[in-house]
Protein backbone atom coordinates (compact mmCIF):
# COMPACT_ATOMS: atom_id res chain seq x y z
CA UNK A 1 0.00 0.00 0.00
CA UNK A 2 1.11 3.52 -0.72
CA UNK A 3 1.87 5.89 2.14
CA UNK A 4 2.45 9.63 2.24
CA UNK A 5 4.38 11.27 5.07
CA UNK A 6 4.40 14.92 6.03
CA UNK A 7 6.55 15.17 9.13
CA UNK A 8 6.28 18.91 9.77
CA UNK A 9 2.97 19.72 11.49
CA UNK A 10 3.39 23.49 11.28
CA UNK A 11 5.45 26.10 9.50
CA UNK A 12 5.54 29.87 9.50
CA UNK A 13 6.83 32.29 6.88
CA UNK A 14 7.17 36.04 6.63
CA UNK A 15 5.09 37.69 3.94
CA UNK A 16 7.03 37.99 0.65
CA UNK A 17 9.53 35.32 1.73
CA UNK A 18 9.93 31.78 0.39
CA UNK A 19 8.93 28.60 2.21
CA UNK A 20 9.35 24.92 1.42
CA UNK A 21 6.97 22.22 2.59
CA UNK A 22 8.29 18.66 2.70
CA UNK A 23 6.66 15.39 1.68
CA UNK A 24 7.91 11.85 1.25
CA UNK A 25 6.01 8.86 -0.04
CA UNK A 26 6.40 5.14 -0.42
CA UNK A 27 5.24 3.10 -3.39
CA UNK A 28 6.23 0.08 -5.42
CA UNK A 29 4.75 1.54 -8.60
CA UNK A 30 6.95 3.12 -11.24
CA UNK A 31 4.37 5.48 -12.69
CA UNK A 32 2.09 7.64 -10.60
CA UNK A 33 0.99 11.20 -9.92
CA UNK A 34 1.69 13.50 -7.00
CA UNK A 35 -0.33 16.49 -5.89
CA UNK A 36 -0.32 19.35 -3.42
CA UNK A 37 -3.70 20.52 -2.17
CA UNK A 38 -4.49 23.62 -0.14
CA UNK A 39 -7.30 23.59 2.43
CA UNK A 40 -8.30 27.01 3.80
CA UNK A 41 -10.73 27.38 6.73
CA UNK A 42 -13.62 27.09 4.25
CA UNK A 43 -12.63 23.38 4.14
CA UNK A 44 -12.67 23.04 0.36
CA UNK A 45 -9.61 21.25 -0.96
CA UNK A 46 -8.02 23.25 -3.76
CA UNK A 47 -5.52 21.73 -6.18
CA UNK A 48 -2.27 23.72 -6.11
CA UNK A 49 0.03 21.73 -8.36
CA UNK A 50 0.52 18.23 -9.78
CA UNK A 51 3.48 16.22 -11.01
CA UNK A 52 3.58 13.19 -13.26
CA UNK A 53 6.27 10.77 -12.10
CA UNK A 54 7.43 10.02 -15.66
CA UNK A 55 8.31 13.68 -16.20
CA UNK A 56 11.76 14.71 -15.04
CA UNK A 57 10.96 18.40 -15.21
CA UNK A 58 9.61 19.85 -12.00
CA UNK A 59 6.11 21.34 -12.22
CA UNK A 60 5.59 25.07 -11.77
CA UNK A 61 2.40 27.10 -11.34
CA UNK A 62 3.08 30.81 -10.88
CA UNK A 63 4.53 31.22 -7.36
CA UNK A 64 4.31 27.49 -6.64
CA UNK A 65 6.91 24.96 -7.71
CA UNK A 66 7.92 21.47 -6.70
CA UNK A 67 11.18 19.65 -6.19
CA UNK A 68 10.47 16.08 -7.27
CA UNK A 69 13.18 13.54 -6.43
CA UNK A 70 11.88 10.21 -7.72
CA UNK A 71 14.74 8.06 -6.43
CA UNK A 72 14.46 9.55 -2.97
CA UNK A 73 10.63 9.49 -3.14
CA UNK A 74 10.52 13.10 -2.11
CA UNK A 75 8.08 15.76 -3.30
CA UNK A 76 8.44 19.20 -1.72
CA UNK A 77 6.45 22.34 -2.45
CA UNK A 78 8.10 25.74 -2.67
CA UNK A 79 5.99 28.86 -2.29
CA UNK A 80 7.73 32.02 -3.43
CA UNK A 81 6.72 35.58 -2.51
CA UNK A 82 4.37 34.28 0.20
CA UNK A 83 1.08 36.09 0.57
CA UNK A 84 -1.36 36.29 3.47
CA UNK A 85 -3.84 34.31 1.41
CA UNK A 86 -1.44 31.38 1.31
CA UNK A 87 -2.14 30.65 4.98
CA UNK A 88 -3.91 27.26 5.07
CA UNK A 89 -3.35 23.57 5.56
CA UNK A 90 -1.39 21.94 2.76
CA UNK A 91 -1.70 18.27 1.90
CA UNK A 92 0.56 16.13 -0.20
CA UNK A 93 -1.26 13.35 -2.07
CA UNK A 94 -0.41 10.32 -4.17
CA UNK A 95 -2.37 8.75 -7.01
CA UNK A 96 -1.50 5.52 -8.78
CA UNK A 97 -1.70 5.15 -12.52
CA UNK A 98 -4.59 2.72 -12.61
CA UNK A 99 -6.76 3.97 -9.77
CA UNK A 100 -7.83 7.59 -9.43
CA UNK A 101 -8.20 7.63 -5.64
CA UNK A 102 -5.85 9.86 -3.66
CA UNK A 103 -3.84 8.90 -0.60
CA UNK A 104 -3.12 11.94 1.57
CA UNK A 105 -0.49 12.87 4.11
CA UNK A 106 -1.43 14.32 7.48
CA UNK A 107 -0.99 17.87 6.26
CA UNK A 108 0.95 20.90 7.40
CA UNK A 109 -0.44 24.15 8.75
CA UNK A 110 1.20 27.14 7.11
CA UNK A 111 0.90 30.55 8.71
CA UNK A 112 2.03 33.77 7.03
CA UNK A 113 3.25 36.65 9.18
CA UNK A 114 2.51 40.17 7.91
Amino acid sequence: AQTVTQSQPEMSVQEAETVTLSCTYDTSESDYYLFWYKQPPSRQMILVIRQEAYKQQNATENRFSVNFQKAAKSFSLKISDSQLGDAAMYFCAYRGLLNSKLTFGKGITLSVRP
Partner: protein, 114 residues
Protein backbone atom coordinates in the same frame (compact mmCIF):
# COMPACT_ATOMS: atom_id res chain seq x y z
CA UNK B 1 -18.80 24.57 -14.47
CA UNK B 2 -20.69 23.94 -11.25
CA UNK B 3 -18.62 22.36 -8.49
CA UNK B 4 -19.29 19.43 -6.22
CA UNK B 5 -22.31 20.18 -4.05
CA UNK B 6 -22.67 18.83 -0.52
CA UNK B 7 -25.26 19.24 2.19
CA UNK B 8 -25.72 19.91 4.98
CA UNK B 9 -22.78 22.14 5.82
CA UNK B 10 -22.92 21.37 9.52
CA UNK B 11 -24.65 18.72 11.58
CA UNK B 12 -24.75 18.10 15.32
CA UNK B 13 -26.23 14.88 16.64
CA UNK B 14 -26.13 12.80 19.78
CA UNK B 15 -24.37 9.46 19.88
CA UNK B 16 -26.45 6.53 18.73
CA UNK B 17 -28.50 8.77 16.44
CA UNK B 18 -28.38 8.44 12.67
CA UNK B 19 -27.29 11.00 10.08
CA UNK B 20 -27.12 11.26 6.30
CA UNK B 21 -25.02 13.38 3.98
CA UNK B 22 -25.75 14.18 0.36
CA UNK B 23 -23.40 14.81 -2.55
CA UNK B 24 -23.94 15.88 -6.16
CA UNK B 25 -20.76 15.54 -8.26
CA UNK B 26 -19.64 17.58 -11.23
CA UNK B 27 -21.66 16.70 -14.30
CA UNK B 28 -19.99 14.00 -16.35
CA UNK B 29 -17.70 12.78 -13.57
CA UNK B 30 -18.10 9.03 -13.37
CA UNK B 31 -16.08 8.53 -10.22
CA UNK B 32 -17.26 9.71 -6.78
CA UNK B 33 -15.46 9.48 -3.45
CA UNK B 34 -16.34 9.96 0.19
CA UNK B 35 -13.48 10.93 2.49
CA UNK B 36 -13.45 11.28 6.27
CA UNK B 37 -11.17 13.97 7.68
CA UNK B 38 -10.67 13.90 11.44
CA UNK B 39 -9.42 17.15 12.96
CA UNK B 40 -5.70 17.60 12.40
CA UNK B 41 -5.40 14.70 9.96
CA UNK B 42 -5.45 14.16 6.23
CA UNK B 43 -8.56 12.87 4.48
CA UNK B 44 -9.07 9.12 4.54
CA UNK B 45 -10.98 7.38 1.77
CA UNK B 46 -14.18 5.70 2.96
CA UNK B 47 -15.66 4.61 -0.36
CA UNK B 48 -15.12 5.06 -4.08
CA UNK B 49 -17.83 4.63 -6.72
CA UNK B 50 -17.39 4.18 -10.44
CA UNK B 51 -20.79 5.13 -11.90
CA UNK B 52 -23.09 3.33 -9.45
CA UNK B 53 -20.73 0.46 -8.64
CA UNK B 54 -18.40 0.29 -5.64
CA UNK B 55 -14.69 0.22 -6.51
CA UNK B 56 -13.19 0.42 -3.03
CA UNK B 57 -14.89 0.34 0.37
CA UNK B 58 -12.11 -1.36 2.30
CA UNK B 59 -11.94 1.37 4.96
CA UNK B 60 -15.69 1.86 5.38
CA UNK B 61 -16.90 0.70 8.83
CA UNK B 62 -19.71 -1.35 7.36
CA UNK B 63 -21.35 -2.10 10.69
CA UNK B 64 -22.44 1.52 10.94
CA UNK B 65 -21.66 3.30 7.66
CA UNK B 66 -23.45 2.80 4.37
CA UNK B 67 -23.34 4.64 1.06
CA UNK B 68 -25.17 4.48 -2.20
CA UNK B 69 -25.00 6.20 -5.55
CA UNK B 70 -28.30 6.02 -7.33
CA UNK B 71 -28.30 6.19 -11.13
CA UNK B 72 -24.58 6.94 -11.10
CA UNK B 73 -25.02 10.59 -10.11
CA UNK B 74 -25.97 11.75 -6.58
CA UNK B 75 -24.71 9.89 -3.55
CA UNK B 76 -25.67 9.63 0.10
CA UNK B 77 -23.51 8.54 3.02
CA UNK B 78 -25.27 7.36 6.17
CA UNK B 79 -24.06 6.67 9.68
CA UNK B 80 -26.26 4.59 11.98
CA UNK B 81 -25.71 4.59 14.92
CA UNK B 82 -23.16 7.40 15.30
CA UNK B 83 -20.28 7.24 17.76
CA UNK B 84 -18.26 10.05 19.29
CA UNK B 85 -15.27 9.13 17.13
CA UNK B 86 -17.30 9.79 13.99
CA UNK B 87 -16.93 13.53 14.62
CA UNK B 88 -15.13 14.73 11.51
CA UNK B 89 -15.50 16.54 8.22
CA UNK B 90 -16.97 14.37 5.48
CA UNK B 91 -15.71 15.37 2.07
CA UNK B 92 -17.21 14.33 -1.22
CA UNK B 93 -15.11 14.48 -4.38
CA UNK B 94 -15.49 13.53 -8.02
CA UNK B 95 -13.15 12.99 -10.94
CA UNK B 96 -12.77 12.00 -14.53
CA UNK B 97 -11.34 8.52 -14.44
CA UNK B 98 -8.65 8.79 -17.04
CA UNK B 99 -5.65 11.08 -17.04
CA UNK B 100 -3.49 12.76 -14.42
CA UNK B 101 -6.33 14.74 -12.99
CA UNK B 102 -6.80 15.44 -9.36
CA UNK B 103 -10.07 15.26 -7.55
CA UNK B 104 -12.62 18.07 -7.33
CA UNK B 105 -13.86 18.46 -3.78
CA UNK B 106 -17.00 19.84 -2.23
CA UNK B 107 -17.01 22.05 0.86
CA UNK B 108 -17.62 19.12 3.16
CA UNK B 109 -20.01 18.47 6.05
CA UNK B 110 -18.74 19.03 9.56
CA UNK B 111 -20.29 16.42 11.84
CA UNK B 112 -20.20 16.77 15.62
CA UNK B 113 -21.36 13.82 17.69
CA UNK B 114 -22.06 14.64 21.35
Amino acid sequence: EAGVAQSPRYKIIEKRQSVAFWCNPISGHATLYWYQQILGQGPKLLIQFQNNGVVDDSQLPKDRFSAERLKGVDSTLKIQPAKLEDSAVYLCASSLEAGPFGLHFGNGTRLTVT
